[in-house]
């Protein structure tokens, strides 16, 4: 059992979301930095989609009742190693309140969190009114259970000191660093003048404090249509860059509404979801135009690295068993 001693600023249970319900208006949800959660789950021998915690800006303080193997990643927590298995002894407190290098820390637990699912997923959706942790963020006094783990914390190798190369998660960047987001032209890119499109890709934007799991809001020189034009609401995607009439772009994340009525000037590539989701208020962001072929190549490289990690974990586990 895991006891929540302090809830943190905005801590929720997340997995890889609930695709398949978007036609009924259900946001896909899931981890805002899905690759980070997949890496951590892989490290622990979990299914990639096992539920873990997503901690935003200030993490929770947890206490484990029995020996538990965890992995932390995404932003870097002060006092705890990232991207490796960590054995937490019974009674030990995990203080995740301070972290840097990103907006979100993920905590994966060997065996995954055991929480009720809604429409096939444990992912929390705000304002859904759904029961339990599918409908709300963590609160002080909550207790969480883990499923049965494939790792035995009492075995010596469970917390062996090897870790994933940090380059696998390029989203971890020092505060104030410029985050480059590779992007394709969006479905309404041609609505904007050629000059405006070039300016969009040449401009640095600043991440607004009003950002949330629905979208990262950017501030900078306004991106405007040559003349007002109405878009009939249509499907949007993770990473779609919407431009509302005020000209301040919004990069849509996991809890985006399924439909959007603002023109989309660009589409951030799948591989760079983490880089945008980990942007903290005040961080600088720019967009770099890539081709579809380049986007696919980047995705294949990222997926191949995850396959390699999975094999490595399997070998290490077998070798020590």
């Amino acid at each position: 059992m895991i006891e929540v001693l302090a809830a943190g600023a905005f801590t929720s249970v997340q997995d890889l979301g609930r695709p398949g319900w978007a036609a009924q208006g259900v946001p896909p949800g899931g981890a805002a930095d899905p690759f980070a959660l997949r890496v951590l789950n892989t490290l622990l021998g979990n299914a990639e989609s096992a539920p873990g915690l997503e901690c935003t800006l200030r993490g929770p303080v947890l206490r484990v009742a029995e020996d538990t193997v965890i992995a932390l990643g995404g932003a870097a927590v002060v006092g705890w190693p990232s991207l490796r298995r960590v054995v937490v002894a019974a009674g030990q407190v995990i203080d995740l309140s301070t972290f840097s290098g990103g907006a979100r820390v993920y905590v994966a637990f060997a065996g995954g969190l055991k929480v009720p699912r809604v429409l096939g997923s444990a992912a929390m959706l705000p304002r859904s009114g759904w029961p339990g942790l599918a409908g709300r963020i963590l609160q002080v006094g909550d207790s969480l259970e883990c499923g049965s783990a494939s790792i035995d914390p009492r075995r010596g190798w469970a917390g062996r000191a090897w870790s994933v190369a940090p380059t696998l998660l390029p989203a971890n960047l020092p505060e104030g660093a410029l985050r480059s987001l590779r992007a394709l032209d969006g479905p309404q890119a041609e609505w904007f003048s050629a000059g405006c499109g070039e300016a969009f890709f040449a401009t640095e934007f600043c991440v607004s404090a009003r950002s949330d799991r629905m979208g990262v809001r950017l501030e900078g020189s306004a991106v405007r249509l040559p003349a007002p034009r109405e878009l009939i609401s249509e499907g949007v995607a993770f990473g779609s860059v919407q431009v509302p009439p005020d000209g301040q772009p919004i990069v849509l994340l996991a809890d985006r509404p399924t439909l959007g009525g603002y023109p989309k000037i660009a589409q951030v590539i799948t591989t760079d979801r983490g880089i945008v989701a980990q942007a903290r208020p005040g961080d600088r962001v720019r967009f770099v135009r890539v081709t579809l072929a380049e986007a696919h190549a980047a995705l294949r490289r990222q997926e191949a690295a995850l396959v390699q990690l999975r094999h490595g974990v399997a070998l290490a586990t077998k070798g020590s068993g």
Binding site: P19, G20, Q24, S128, G129, I232, E234, L259, A293
Partner: protein
């Protein structure tokens, strides 16, 4: 994304509905899901399973085949779309914006209710929040822009109008539409296999809830 019309009307919605139905009957491996909305159908796919030019061709051929079959079956399906009747308590606490709406339109509250409940609607899209239906068919007499200041919390079941459309809020969410009534109907319920009460293409009518006998 497949775009079938330039303006959102019932004919466009029927074609999108037929295409979506066809795609669900004959799914393509690698396609994750599809979102129908007014005049478009957005196809989400796994770029690793439908990769490069070959993947693109397969998706395009699949869409073309679905379109061809959809246009064959559409008339029969469109002849008998599902109709859902929603009972509404208009005005008062249930519809706090009814007086302001009537004033803005220069009509009586009674007129607004008669126009709203007298119209036949078709679901053009489901989105904004789980199960929220965007309804086409609002009489032009009731067209008015959104509220200048959105409410931070709209009660679940609120029946609303704005921007030439009608809608119903399934959950308590923020919202910028004018609230003219409330329904007890559950627009989204996890108790159902298909949680959303309404789907694109469904017909909807609003009926004034009659006063309870004392």
């Amino acid at each position: 994304m497949v775009e079938l019309a330039a303006s959102a009307d019932v004919a466009a919605v029927r074609r999108i509905q037929a295409l979506h139905a066809r795609m669900r009957t004959a799914p393509l491996d690698g396609v994750l899901e599809c979102i129908p909305a007014f005049v478009t159908l957005t196809v989400y796919f796994d770029p690793l399973r439908l990769a490069g030019d070959e993947g693109r061709v397969r998706i395009e051929e699949w869409i073309a085949a679905c379109l061809a079959q959809a246009s064959e079956v559409a008339p029969a399906e469109a002849a008998s779309p599902r109709e859902v009747v929603l009972k509404v308590r208009y005005g008062g606490d249930a519809g706090p914006d009814l007086p302001a709406v009537a004033a803005a339109l220069g009509r009586s509250e009674e007129d607004v209710v008669a126009l709203h409940s007298g119209a036949a609607y078709v679901v053009g899209a489901v989105g904004f929040s789980p199960g929220f239906p965007y309804l086409l068919g609002l009489p032009t007499e009731l067209h008015l822009p959104r509220r200048s200041t959105p409410r931070p919390r709209v009660p679940a079941g609120s029946v609303a109008i704005a921007a030439g459309q009608a809608g119903v809020y399934p959950q308590a969410t923020p919202g910028g539409w004018h609230l003219i009534g409330r329904t007890q109907a559950e627009l989204f319920s996890l108790e159902r296999d298909s949680p959303a009460l309404l789907a694109v293409g469904d017909r909807v009518r609003f009926v004034r809830e009659t006063e309870r006998a004392p």
